[in-house]
């Protein structure tokens, strides 16, 4: 067997740790043993939010130089949220390397560094679901809706949740 790269070794270890001790509401792992660089995740909508009862699938894509560079995370199907682009890609600080700051507001300590982990990313995404950050809007329509008509925002998300549950 060819020696595993640093990225593969690290991904495998993170997977083992997540499988052994999964954080509540989060399931994540590589799609196959042959491709450690693509992970499927299932995130439970946080309670007391309109996302409650939803199970949201997302895909993590890791670069070859992980953990020096961060992965990207995309909800599929896309999810209505101020910090999620219309195509489902998540825009939060922990997924941005220091130095790249699309919004010119992120502090380096919030951003990706190899001392972060997949678990920390997924936990950040969970808290992002519970508490949108309108300062760094990725989806302008969702931002507006969230700010101006919270009831409609909540209604649309609940409808999405019901649809994904097949109700």
């Amino acid at each position: 067997m060819p020696p595993r790269s640093t990225a593969q070794k690290r991904l495998l270890k993170e997977y083992q740790q997540l499988a052994r001790d999964p954080p509540p509401g989060i399931v994540a792992g590589p799609v196959s043993e042959d491709d450690l660089f693509t992970w499927e995740c299932l995130l439970e909508g946080p309670t007391d939010t309109p996302y409650e009862n939803g199970i949201f699938p997302a895909e993590l894509k890791f670069p070859q130089d992980y953990p020096l560079s961060p992965p990207s995370l995309k909800f599929d199907p896309p999810l209505l949220h101020p910090n999620i682009y219309a195509d489902g890609s998540v825009c939060i600080s922990i997924l941005h390397a220091p130095g790249e700051d699309p919004n010119q507001y992120e502090r380096p300590e919030e951003r990706w560094s190899p001392v972060q982990s997949i678990e920390k990313i997924l936990l950040s995404v969970m808290s992002m679901l519970a508490e949108p950050n309108p300062e760094s809007g990725a989806n302008i329509d969702a931002c507006k809706l969230w700010r101006d008509d919270r009831e409609e925002y909540n209604r649309q998300i609940r409808a999405h949740v019901r649809k994904t549950l097949g109700l």
């Binding site: 640093t6 130089d65 020096l68 390397a97 220091p98 130095g99 380096p108 300590e109 190899p114 001392v115």
Partner: protein, 293 residues
């Protein structure tokens, strides 16, 4: 302690070092250099300043006259201090007289470092692979791994130009530097300032923003911490383009003396915003750079 004095000197008297013409450096240190370049004679650097500030030229001549004949340049990506130091650290062990002893000493120092990182709260998972890469490289000086050659100048050069290995080593040194600063807050806290706005900073915030973050250049605090953690001596020559008030041109060295055994220091060259490696030789042993090693 010398290193403390150096830190104090820095923040009290030499602010002009930091206010120098950054444009000069921007022009001469493009970001697309190799991570680590082959050794070159100082004349190459001198030629770049010949039409500019003549004090720089005289300082380069001073270095040559004082035995620093060569320069090994590193990419100006903000990681240059860590990368220069790591390269020079391994190279010096490789070229030392008692290789076995020096490899053993380095490995034993490095093997004591995970405890420091764990103590300040880094998970083993996030740093062990980086440390393994660094330790394996040093071990290969005396003990080739199956299927991999013994460490030669060529292999060392290639390893430091391989982004994955090179950046992993840089990352480990950043985490080690951070751990050292966090473990001795009383030594470092008075010197933790935001490099751009000059405001005092909390230890953890300083470490997260200006030590652990890739691409953030090291200053005296980081250099003091890292030389202490690695137990090494490092001399940094400041090429600042300033003559003394009496018109005499020399080069000031800032010394970080943290070796526990007597040893020659590693010599680095600092120009505002950038570090390279100084060498007493002015060219590479070309056989060691022969791809047919």
């Amino acid at each position: 302690m010398d290193d403390h004095r150096a830190v104090r000197t820095l923040y009290s008297g030499s602010s002009d070092l930091f206010n120098m013409n950054e444009a000069t450096i921007e022009d001469t240190i493009p970001k697309d250099r190799p991570l680590i370049a082959p050794l070159a004679p100082m004349g190459v650097l001198r030629a770049e300043y010949e039409n500019g500030n003549q004090v720089f030229v005289q300082q380069i001549d001073w270095l040559v006259n004082n035995g620093y004949k060569g320069i090994r340049r590193t990419r100006g990506d903000g990681d240059c201090f860590y990368r220069s130091l790591a390269f020079a650290y391994v190279e010096r062990i490789m070229n030392s007289e008692d290789v076995d002893l020096n490899v053993m000493r380095a490995i034993s120092t490095l093997e004591a470092t995970p405890q420091m990182l764990l103590e300040v709260g880094f998970q083993e998972l996030v740093f062990e692979d980086f440390l393994d890469i660094f330790k394996d490289l040093i071990t290969r000086i005396v003990q080739p791994e199956p299927g991999r050659s013994r460490l030669t100048g060529r292999v060392l050069f290639d390893t430091f130009n391989n982004a994955e290995e090179s950046n992993s080593i840089v990352m480990y040194l950043r985490l080690l530097t951070s751990a050292q600063i966090r473990l001795a807050p009383e030594d470092f806290a008075p010197f933790l300032f935001h490099p751009e706005i000059g405001e005092p900073m909390e230890t953890v915030s300083f470490c997260e923003n200006f030590v652990e973050a890739v691409g953030k250049e090291a200053d005296h605090v980081q250099m003091t911490a890292l030389t202490r953690a690695l137990k090494i001596n490092v001399n940094v020559a400041y090429l600042d383009g300033h003559a003394r008030s009496d018109g005499v041109v020399t080069v000031d060295f800032v010394k970080f003396d943290n070796a526990t055994e007597p040893e020659e220091p590693i010599s680095l060259l600092y120009r505002p915003g950038h570090y390279d490696i100084l060498d007493s030789k002015d060219q590479e042993d070309l056989t060691s750079l022969d791809p047919l090693w």
